[in-house]
Amino acid sequence: MPSKPQRIEVVLETLIESIALAEEVGVRVAAVAGFGEDDQYKIGLAVHEGVMNAFQYGNKQRRERKIHVIFELFEDKLVIRVLDQGAGFRLEDVPDPREDENVLGDSGRGVLLMKAFMDEVDVLSSSAGGAEVVMAKRHKR
C-alpha cells in the first residue's frame, strides 16, 4: 500500500504579490522533493501560471477570495493543486495559442506553459465551486 504523501497547503489572498510568493514556495518544495534546478524553475513557473490564473480569471482580483495551493509529495511525483473561488473553467475551452489564428492572441499561453512544463495537467471543479488546477511532475529517477 502506498504511503501517505507529505502535504503542504498554502492559503493566499488574491493579491498580485501572492503569485511570486506561491512560485517561490513551489521552487523550494520542488528542491526539497529532489528535483534539479531546471525542473525547479519549470515547477515554479507552472505554479506561477496556476496562481496567476486564479488571481485574474478565477477570483477576478477580489482580495477577499482565497487561493489555496496544495503540494503533495509522493514517492514518484509531486502533485500541485491550485484552487480558486471563481466560476471554474474547462481545459478544452482554452484556445491553443500555437494555432495560426491564435498565435498573436491574448489567451491560452499560461495553460500551454503549465502543460509544457508539467507531466500532467487537468482542471476539476473544486468542492468550493471554483476551478481546481491539478498538475503533476514525475521524478525522472
Binding site: I16, I19, E49, P97, R98, V103, L104, G110
Partner: protein, 115 residues
C-alpha cells in the same frame, strides 16, 4: 529582481535594454508604456534587448505580442535581441519564435531594419 527598461536611440532605431522579470505587475505595464511612448513619437523601429531578462511569464509574453501588434499596425516592427535559453524555450513552446525576427548581435538587429 524587478523589471528595469531604458530606451536609447541608434539612428532611427530604438533599442530598449531590459533587466529583470517581465511578469504581471512587474514588467509588463512598464514595457507597454515604453512601446506606446515610442510609437507616439513616431519611432516604430524597435529592438527589444532581452539580455538581462531572466524570467518571463505568460503575461510578459502577451505584452511582447501586444507590442508587436501595435507597432506592426503603425507600419513598424519589433525585433528581439539576446534571448537566453529560458526565454528561447518559452518562445519556441508558444510558437512566438516564428513571429519575431530574432538576433544575437545588436548591430545586426539594427541593420536588419534597413536591408
Amino acid at each position: 529582481m524587478s523589471f528595469k527598461a531604458i530606451s536609447r536611440e541608434v539612428g532611427d532605431v530604438t533599442v530598449i535594454d531590459m533587466d529583470g522579470r517581465i511578469t504581471l505587475g512587474e514588467g509588463s505595464a512598464l514595457l507597454r508604456d515604453l512601446v506606446r511612448e515610442n510609437v507616439a513619437k513616431g519611432r516604430k523601429k524597435i529592438v527589444m534587448n532581452l539580455a538581462g531578462i531572466n524570467y518571463i511569464d505568460s503575461t510578459g509574453l502577451g505584452e511582447l505580442v501586444a507590442g508587436y501588434r501595435l507597432v506592426k499596425s503603425e507600419g513598424g516592427e519589433i525585433k528581439l535581441l539576446n534571448l537566453n535559453k529560458k526565454v528561447t524555450d518559452l518562445l519556441q513552446i508558444t510558437k512566438l519564435y516564428t513571429v519575431f525576427d530574432i538576433h544575437n548581435q545588436e548591430a545586426q538587429a539594427v541593420a536588419s531594419f534597413h536591408s
